[in-house]
């Protein structure tokens, strides 16, 4: 069974540009989460989808971040325009039940 897959694994962009991160969850997992880890700090929750609906987006930093989940399958997280403080590792996770989260390998975003 394929795990959670994230694309790209690494992205370097200039301040002011747009970046789109993609997450393919495990097939059949209704719950999809986005998290972010900024250098050396804790992994912080960004938002939670149940199928295609946003269940909780309380962790989204500001309106430069836009997450979508098309048809309840893959999800994208767009940052527009990117700022220096957006640098970090973005993780996607999916689960069938609320407490069993499987994480992807992460996308390392560097904004220069």
């Amino acid at each position: 069974e394929a795990g959670v897959t994230q694309f790209p694994s690494h992205s370097v962009i200039e301040k002011g540009q747009t970046v789109t991160l993609r997450c393919d969850p495990i097939s059949g997992h209704d719950n999809l989460y986005w998290y972010r880890r900024v250098m050396g700090k804790e992994i912080k929750f960004l938002l939670h989808f149940v199928k295609e609906s946003k269940q909780d987006e309380s962790g989204m930093p500001n309106n430069r971040f836009l997450a979508e989940r098309t048809g309840g399958t893959y999800s994208t997280l767009k940052v527009q325009p990117a700022e220096l403080e957006d640098s970090g590792v973005y993780f996607c996770a999916s689960s069938h039940r609320y407490t069993e989260a499987f994480f992807g390998q992460g996308t390392r975003l560097t904004v220069v």
Partner: protein
């Protein structure tokens, strides 16, 4: 506001030693406490988890001790091996919501 505090930030032990990582939480609504293990370039992977009605849980060489009255829990790794070298995260969640609140992470190095 750091809801889950983890210590130490880094830990070096000799092979065969017993590293201990501690976490403390504030929110008494938390109902599920997982530990994640992360190797470089990989996403966090669920290692072991406990619910507050249990004081200890053991899986192989990994043991969680839980103190509900003190709102603290810890991970012990028995007979540690160099292959255990990784970053360890404690987390907590209100079971029904599934949003994980992570500690800051502990970078463990087990020397041969």
């Amino acid at each position: 506001q750091q809801q889950v505090k983890q210590s130490p930030q880094s830990l070096i032990v000799q092979k065969g030693g017993i590293p201990i990582i501690n976490c403390a939480y504030e929110n008494t609504a938390f109902d599920y406490f997982p530990w994640y293990q992360q190797f470089p370039g990989k996403g966090p992977a669920l290692l072991i988890a406990i619910r507050p009605d249990v004081s200890e849980k053991k899986e192989g060489r990994f043991t969680i001790s839980f103190n509900k009255s003190a709102k603290q829990f810890s991970l012990h790794i028995m007979d540690s091996q160099p292959g255990d070298s990784a970053t360890y995260f404690c987390a907590a969640t209100e079971d029904r919501r599934g949003k994980l609140i992570f500690g800051q992470g502990t970078e463990l190095s087990v020397k041969p």
